[in-house]
């Protein structure tokens, strides 16, 4: 089988608050024989912030990044849910909605870029579970995660508004992936509920409540680790524990790891290469359990 190769859109947090995610992504993908080439000179995709104040600008930023990626001749890999939920729907609208295509082409012309719309955009989770495939992942497992209880947290934007590989209400690919690593995957009712992350700066009360509910369910179910597939979800669930304790009186010590870190561990990669020690809530104790 040919080596899998993708153009990689890391997104802004990869170069800011989630360098650990980027590091573990490169390490794990490489160990699985998947090559990632960073999209040359990508810019911000606009996140939900720009789509909210200026939907056309949001799509235009995505269109530029898609055009840059398309010019590499490779399909596009994305590991941030917010970037994915911006880039993939923009591509879809570009292909299917005449008006959107016209508007975006006028904008792209102004910066001498061209988008054919032939590229495919995929989230890292689906590159592992669909493109590479679960049996191939399983072949690479060197240190199965026996005895590790995990809950997968998909967040809002991995399966919504649309993902060709997921049921928007009940996505399963992360569950399947964690299963082949040997982990015990617990049912998790809030796996697609909003954690309120986008409100953490503007409506803290509302955001804290939602974050608390997710952490509380993970604790009640006895999870050792919460597995996230997005740097924004990870940060939001990981970094506000002291505030949550002050507000609700309960301290949650369940660590939140990226799926790339958890897969990497099962492949037998080094903790440092996976940047395991960089989350706010340390994961060493629970990982030592195994």
């Amino acid at each position: 089988m040919n080596r899998l190769r993708y153009a990689f859109y890391p997104g802004c947090t990869a170069h800011a608050s989630a360098r650990d995610y980027t590091r573990s992504t490169y390490a794990t993908f490489q160990a699985l024989g998947i090559e990632l080439e960073e999209v040359p000179d990508w810019c911000c995709c606009g996140s939900t912030a720009v789509s909210n104040v200026d939907p056309l600008l949001g799509m235009a930023l995505c269109a530029r990044n898609l055009a840059l990626a398309e010019s590499t001749g490779l399909d596009l890999a994305v590991t941030c849910n917010a970037c994915y939920a911006n880039l993939a729907p923009t591509l879809e609208a570009y292909r299917e909605e005449r008006r959107v295509r016209d508007r975006l082409q006028r904008v792209l012309d102004a910066v001498d870029r061209h988008l054919e719309g032939e590229i495919a955009v995929k989230h890292g989770v689906h590159i592992l579970t669909r493109d590479l495939g679960l049996p191939r992942v399983e072949e690479h497992v060197r240190r199965p995660l026996d005895g590790l209880k995990v809950v997968p947290y998909y967040g809002c934007l991995l399966s919504r508004p649309r993902n060709p590989y997921e049921d928007p209400e009940n996505p399963t690919s992360l569950d399947e992936l964690l299963c082949v690593l040997g982990a015990e995957v617990l049912p998790f009712e809030r796996k697609t509920k909003c954690c309120g992350g986008s409100f953490m700066n503007t409506k803290e009360e509302v955001a804290l409540r939602l974050t608390f509910e997710i952490l509380e369910e993970a604790r009640e179910r006895g999870a050792h680790v919460i597995v996230a597939a997005c740097p924004l979800c990870q940060l939001n669930l990981d970094a506000y524990r002291a505030k949550l304790r002050a507000r609700f009186g309960t301290y949650h010590d369940t660590p939140v790891l990226y799926f790339t870190q958890v897969v990497g561990l099962a492949l037998g990669l080094d903790r440092n290469d996976l940047a395991i020690g960089q989350s706010f809530v340390p994961a060493d104790r629970v990982l030592g359990l195994r």
Partner: protein, 225 residues
């Protein structure tokens, strides 16, 4: 026998023009690409929304208010700023309406038309995001959060310090903003978006869509149930 059929006049059409802007539904449909008239008022969106409790009008009511043309009331509402763009409503709407895109459209119109509710921090946050984007082409969170704090409550910076330091200490955070090399291109792209928009709203005026950008502040409220 000849039966005279009375034209159907809905309650909506009886409202005076100062309150009801008949062009509003078309304006929203044009930007969002969603048909507000397809809504059957089932309330699935409101039932799926984790933020409906905090909103002054639920998503279903917002849809009806848009159709009724209550432009001012909708754009000045708190509800639109409580939408977190989680898409729960969108995947469930039985009429296939992307309610999230309608909400995004309403927020963008509210900002453009100056209906910024001073009690809402969200518009300031989004605006800070745009500024940082224009500065670097990429968004560095500490810079964004600092810009936002300075615009709203500078003491906020203090509350954010532990988080920022925590990130730096753990080696997760690049202390300095990263930038796109072709920043000029990103700015040209932003200008091009502005041009496309202005040329379209000029076109829309010609075909008779009233481009209404000034808040009218009639202060009158219509209750849509």
């Amino acid at each position: 026998m000849v039966v005279a059929i009375e034209p159907v006049v809905t309650q909506r059409e009886l409202l005076p023009e100062e309150i009801r802007n008949p062009y509003f539904p078309a304006e929203v449909e044009d930007i969002s690409g969603q048909s507000v008239w397809a809504c059957m008022q089932c309330g699935t969106c409101s039932g799926s929304c984790q933020f409906a409790e905090q909103m002054d009008y639920t998503p279903r009511r917002i849809m009806e208010m848009v159709r009724t043309g209550l432009r001012e009331q909708v754009l000045a509402s708190k509800a639109i700023w409580y939408c977190a763009s989680c898409y729960s409503c969108t995947v469930r709407c039985p009429r296939g309406i992307q309610v999230t895109r309608v909400m995004m459209t309403l927020k963008s119109l509210a900002l453009r038309a100056g209906y910024v509710n001073p009690r809402e921090d969200a518009p300031a946050f989004y605006d800070s995001f745009l500024r940082v984007l224009r500065m670097f082409g990429r968004v560095h969170e500490p810079t964004l959060v600092a810009a936002y704090a300075l615009r709203t409550r500078p003491t906020r910076v203090l509350g954010m310090m532990p988080m920022a330091l925590g990130l730096v200490r753990r080696g997760r955070m690049a202390p300095l903003p990263d930038r796109t090399r072709s920043l000029g291109e990103v700015r040209r792209l932003m200008e091009a978006v502005e041009r496309v928009r202005t040329s379209e709203s000029a076109g829309a005026r010609e075909v008779g869509v009233r481009a209404q950008s000034e808040p009218r502040a009639t202060g009158q409220e219509v209750v849509v149930r």
